[in-house]
Subunit: 633 residues, 2 copies
């Protein structure tokens, strides 16, 4: 082991392992050779021109390779992926190798110009864009077919030859990050810039949103507390609270867009034109010419995609939603039946029976959720989106709608069919608090504990082998490859989204929801941070400029909550008492108020600009410059 | 006279008069000399570098100048204003003098590469951007103050020294255009490309919209006819008609955006970045550096503008709206009072009295409209918008809201306060038909008749002077300078907007409205064409890529019409008969349907892309190219 590393040290002093490629244990030698050759090969020959080294462990079966790249190669890669960096004049520009001297902190010997996350992103991009040329199949595996333009890594993954590709942690940096993030007790913002440097923009934006959202909920929580403390039940106070909530939620979502633009500009992703990138590895099609960039790549008719979306995916989603509603109705029937049974023959058994419907329903929902998610992934993949962001948005939208229904349909039923406000408040409180506790536990604490146990055992084993105190690279790789994989921010956003639903949809029934949300989010920040740093493998950085379809989802939720809150207030006995003679006047008044609120919301969303003025100016300046450059040509 | 023109012909063979500048009759010689010198002066000296010739008429008092420019100057001007032209490879690109050879139909001796309208636009732009340097005042007029950056033409206009600037008609081209536009009886589209070449994009887009809108109304009209013929009163048919109307209006507005993008792309205005242009002449501020373009120009804080808009203009508009509603209520009171009076003492006098309130109201509305419009222009000008489009949009929005209220408030009152459907149908029909007839008359036919009389008189006078058969340039100028000025497309769009209101707001009460609208629009096309070609001075072309705030206005109208139609249907006796027991169920059903329709509308608007796919690709391609060009630099 020591020899293999000193071997590296002697022959390639500046090889810095960045990404780990784990191949199947029994992978044929011929395949491994071909794959590593493609990775190392010159760009001109269709290779990735990266550096690759085998990791020699005590277990000779293992096929683990470390991938790195020379400094020059990484700089050229940064140009290819279109990284945007800050220039000496404080403007943000696309990095090009030829203009490298104009960028801030650039020096030929400064290997920290690109962050490690950026380097890893570049390597991932290069590996994923290794595409088959004239190969008909993967050497050694005749059943793993290839065709020109097919991503090799993707075929290797689907054939099970490639197990995983993941970026290595940087233990030094991670320690620093952990310290400033959650290592000490402090009151203050999260170190978003450092998170971004280490984990990339997608994850940093999630933490930025989590933090922003928590702060934004504080006014709601503060206003909600006296309602609980003094047990206020006056309708005018509820109306005021709901109105404030509705307008406030519009404001916070609009302001988030502005903050997001500021962050994305500072991080360079606002200017990154990802639509000009090469297609995502899962994208397939006949090799052709991209009409925009003129590059050779797989092309796929957008009409075909539209047909798949509207004629297959959309009906499927609607069917699933209908089915889910149907299951819910069965649950309510069962519930009623159990209650009747209990009243008729009161016994221990009937007492037990009362819980059966809920348990069955919870299990069925969980199963449905899993099946649906699998189907959604399959469908979205089959829709064949060219861009990763578009794939993600379509997937998120599908899963989101289903989850929304499963989560809130029963509450809607209780509120607007059973008209039982007391039960609604009770269910809401139970759902909110239990889901929060369960989530925190299942998402971070449990994996953390498992991870810690596993690490201890690993360390023991390692220690029994040799008595070095410091963890060597081999140990680090072995440890990290066993860690869980972080599957993206979807579940984290979904949790916030559902929470936002609990807080805003029925805010006038349960003003305390915001308080619980704030408390949960504060611990959530820490447990999520722990999860990222300790539990999961380091995820690849993914440049992104906004939270994508989540913005739309939150905005839609805030529109729906105007409707629900108006109805709830209209149904409250206090408001009903104001219109003793005519129910009609009541409903008309409620409808009028609702329309007014919706109109105000839309006007506010229209009037508040999505980007702060200085960002607008900077973007316009860049656009002006590029048009001028085009003219000059 | 003949001498003066032969003089021109001899000395400057290629001087083609394009724009007429009419100065006040008593303008001081010193001023005229200074102004013409500035026009002729080199760009480097702060001049416009155009050609200028006095028009020598029999009336020596007159100070009329013809402005033209050399071919080279016009090409350079085309680059300055950022004209977009078609290249040899069929792509659209910003014209630059250095790349002139790559443009379609470009040849050094082809003086038709730029259309006359484009040349005139360039000259107007150059004249308006003649800005004061170190002059403290206009020479000869110490009270007409100047400061660095102030538009000279604007100061001359406001001081009354400059009477008008207008582009000359091209009699040959106009004859051809007239012939293909309305000269022969034909079934077919309007020659939009030719209209655009002659009058510019703003006017061509108006005619494009008028034509498109008329075609789009035909399905509504066709479906509406049987309702009238068979006197259908079944609620289900009305519901179907209204639902179709509401969804149809969303579709047509979304599709218009796509058609508009196609037209604007073909005409090059979609790619014109007008926000990078120099500010509109009315814009004032301290001379500074534009942060985007880096050019020296007046700058004005956008926060100050926001404050003016939200703290002065908005309250003022609200106050005016309130006042207008107040006047309407007085009118209804008066009406009632007159009716009571008539019933009490029936006589000829009381019969006459019945009409008095309506007449007073009509007169008051007209006066209010005029005062309000003047105030709106003042306020919008005072808001100090940098871009002409932004000025126009703010002005249009202000005037629009007021006109909407004046037009429809009484109908809303009849429908939703008096609940008198019969009166509503009657008022709607009367308002629609009379306003259409009056408009057609006042807008085109009357001015045309006046113009014809004037022309005859002019011709007689000219003929008495000399017996030349052809109208010379002097006569043309003299004739055109007396013609009315076309103040932009505002009134034309407003007419269509109010018509759209009549058709859609109460469509389930009066399905015949669409028929009248279609009939009106067909004649409108011809009368508007007549108006443009015969009645008014040629207007300056104004490049524009869309119909601006009108799109928003039409969309808002279609949202409002969902609400009104749902209420109207809910109020109909047939629907009421379906819910004999419970008014509440009725209202809830109506509200549910309304929300569903609104949701469908918003989803449709979201799903239908604003630009056709091929335009999207072309735009992306240009963006990609300009980013690449910036990288190359």
């Amino acid at each position: 082991m020591a020899e293999s590393w000193s071997f590296l040290d002697t022959f390639e002093t500046n090889f810095r392992p960045l990404v780990v490629v784990e191949l199947a244990k029994g992978a044929k030698e011929e395949t491994v050779e071909w794959f590593t050759k493609r990775i190392v090969d010159k760009k001109a020959n269709g290779g990735a021109q990266l550096l690759v080294k085998p990791l020699v462990t005590e277990n000779r079966d293992e096929n683990i390779y470390l991938v790195g790249a020379s400094h020059l190669r990484l700089l050229l890669g940064a140009e290819t992926v279109g990284l945007v960096k800050e220039c000496n004049d404080n403007s943000m520009r696309s990095f090009t190798y030829s203009s490298r001297k104009t960028f801030k902190d650039f020096a030929d010997d400064n290997h920290n110009f690109l962050t490690m996350a950026e380097c890893q992103y570049i390597i991932k991009h290069e590996l994923e864009n290794l595409r088959a040329k004239d190969e008909k199949m993967i050497p050694g595996y005749p059943q793993a077919k290839l065709y020109p333009g097919k991503s090799i890594v993707r075929r290797l993954l689907t054939s099970g030859i490639l197990i995983q590709i993941f970026p290595l942690h940087d233990t030094e940096e991670l320690k620093k990050l952990r310290h400033s993030w959650y290592g000490r007790v402090k009151v203050g913002y999260q170190p978003l810039d450092e998170i971004r440097c280490y984990f990339g923009e997608t994850i940093a934006l999630y933490f930025g949103f989590l933090e922003y959202f928590t702060f934004a909920l504080i006014p709601m929580a503060v206003i909600g507390i006296p309602y609980y403390v003094f047990a206020w039940e006056d309708y005018d106070k509820y109306v005021m609270f709901a109105t404030f909530n509705l307008l406030w939620s519009t404001v916070i979502l609009e302001v988030w867009k502005r903050i997001c633009a500021i962050l994305a500009y500072r991080w360079g992703t606002l200017l990154m034109k990802r639509q000009f990138e090469e297609p995502r590895p899962g994208f397939h099609g006949v090799l052709g010419i991209n009409p925009v960039t003129g590059r050779e790549e797989p092309v796929y008719s957008s009409i075909k995609r539209q047909i798949r979306i509207y004629l297959v995916s959309l009906p499927f989603v609607c069917l699933c939603l209908y089915f889910s509603l149907y299951v819910m109705m069965i649950y309510f029937d069962l519930e009623k039946w159990a209650l009747d049974y209990h009243e008729e023959n009161e016994s221990n058994f009937s007492n037990l029976m009362l819980f059966v419907p809920s348990i069955i329903y919870a299990v069925v929902i969980e199963i449905m959720n899993r099946i649906y998610r699998y189907a959604a992934e399959f469908l979205t993949s089959w829709e064949n989106h060219r861009l990763e962001s578009s794939y993600q948005n379509h997937l998120i939208l599908k899963v989101l709608v289903f989850n929304f229904l499963n989560c809130f349909a029963s509450l809607f039923y209780i509120a607007f069919v059973l008209f039982d406000m007391k039960l609604l408040r009770q269910s809401l409180a139970t759902l909110l608090v239990t889901s929060q506790i369960l989530n925190q536990f299942a998402e971070s604490l449990l994996p953390y504990w498992l991870q810690k146990r596993h690490k201890k055992r690993m360390k023991k084993r390692v220690c029994s082998l040799k008595t070095d105190t410091d963890l060597s690279l081999v140990e680090q790789v072995n440890m990290e490859k066993e860690m869980g994989t972080y599957f993206g921010t979807f579940d984290d956003y979904l949790e916030l989204f559902l929470q936002f639903g609990y807080v805003s949809l029925f805010s006038c029934v349960y003003p305390l929801a915001a308080v619980f949300a704030v408390l949960n989010n504060i611990t959530e920040m820490y447990s999520d941070a722990l999860k990222m740093c300790r539990v999961y493998k380091r995820p690849f950085a993914e440049p992104t400029a906004n939270i994508g379809v989540w913005q739309l989802a939150f905005e839609t939720m805030s529109v729906i909550s105007v409707v629900t809150n108006c109805i709830l207030i209209g149904m409250s006995p206090q408001v009903n008492a104001l219109f003793p003679d005519s129910k009609m006047d009541l409903i008309l008044t409620v409808a009028l108020v609702e329309h007014l609120l919706l109109a105000i919301k839309f006007i506010m969303a229209f009037v508040i600009p999505d980007k702060p003025r200085d960002i607008q100016i900077k973007l316009a300046k860049l656009e002006f410059e590029s048009l001028e450059a085009l003219k000059q040509q």
